[in-house]
Symmetry: C2
Subunit: 172 residues, 2 copies
């Protein structure tokens, strides 16, 4: 029964041609306080932010207005990626606005502005809307043409597992 409900919460990714933005919408079968926590608690965040098979090392994580963060992501082949940014706003349990930069030696200065909104739905459910704005259409397309859809689906699959485990352990 749980399985059926989970599968109905499909990830909706919108990236219109020629635009500088990506909009990701996903619903979860838990309250927005918990989904928000999964974005702001470094121990929870590390468990789902990478695709399946990847490992995350959080170096810095200050989820508050003006805080900074940096984390490393090691994929299943051992390749390491780094990401960092600043939190412009962390407003529990409603909204997170932050910058994100994927660190690559030759192309620094390409930054994304992410707004994550956590909407309350009836039945203790949550609608997450992640709105990402890029500095150019090219920057946006580079992200979309990587494994964006696959990675996002895998992350959310892991986040749902985390939610379902947490609900189970809470119920025990």
């Amino acid at each position: 029964m749980m399985e059926t409900i989970t599968k109905s919460n499909q990830t909706n990714i919108t990236a219109e041609p020629g635009k500088m933005e990506i909009i990701v919408v996903k619903e979860f079968d838990t309250d927005r306080g918990f989904v928000f926590k999964a974005f702001t608690d470094p121990y929870l965040y590390a468990q789902w932010i990478g695709p399946i098979g990847s490992a995350i090392k959080i170096e810095k994580f200050e989820p508050r207005d003006g805080g900074s963060y940096r984390f490393l992501q090691k994929d299943k082949n051992g390749k390491v990626f780094a990401f960092h940014g600043v939190f412009h706003e962390v407003l529990f349990p409603v909204r997170i606005i932050r910058t994100i930069e994927y660190e690559k030696l030759s192309t620094r200065g390409h930054v994304e502005l992410d707004t994550s909104k956590f909407e309350l739905l009836p039945g203790n459910r949550t609608r997450l809307i992640i709105h990402s704005v890029f500095q150019s259409v090219e920057d946006r397309d580079r992200i979309i043409n990587s494994d964006f859809n696959k990675d996002m689906n895998e992350k959310f699959e892991r986040l749902e597992e985390l939610i379902s485990k947490s609900i189970t352990s809470w119920d025990l």
Copy 2:
């Protein structure tokens, strides 16, 4: 003679219809180290960031990667506006990437990502490019339809005055 050179450095503002961005280009008759300093030294910044006749009060100014800032701007009629944000990157004398939010009680969460680039030109001159990205076309248009062009021109007029005063006092 100085007057003629100054007036030739016109401000070029691009805001294409339907886009989420504004591009401002302006050249200055001084080295980029000084223009960069005018963006990162709070005492200099306060002297030019508001339009003519306005007063600035800097509450917080941490021009470094991960730093925050907040300042108040009082216009000539005594009306006070507040702005705040975070510095994603402050790379002397090349680039500043930061967020900006104009604080209005009813509309929080509307944030702009600004990239300022300071390009070295021959003859000890500087090309400043400010690239602002908004969360929506509506947010961009609201800014453009305010006194954006007039304000920007006035700010740069004040910045040029500051530069010319500084050069004069340096030369003394």
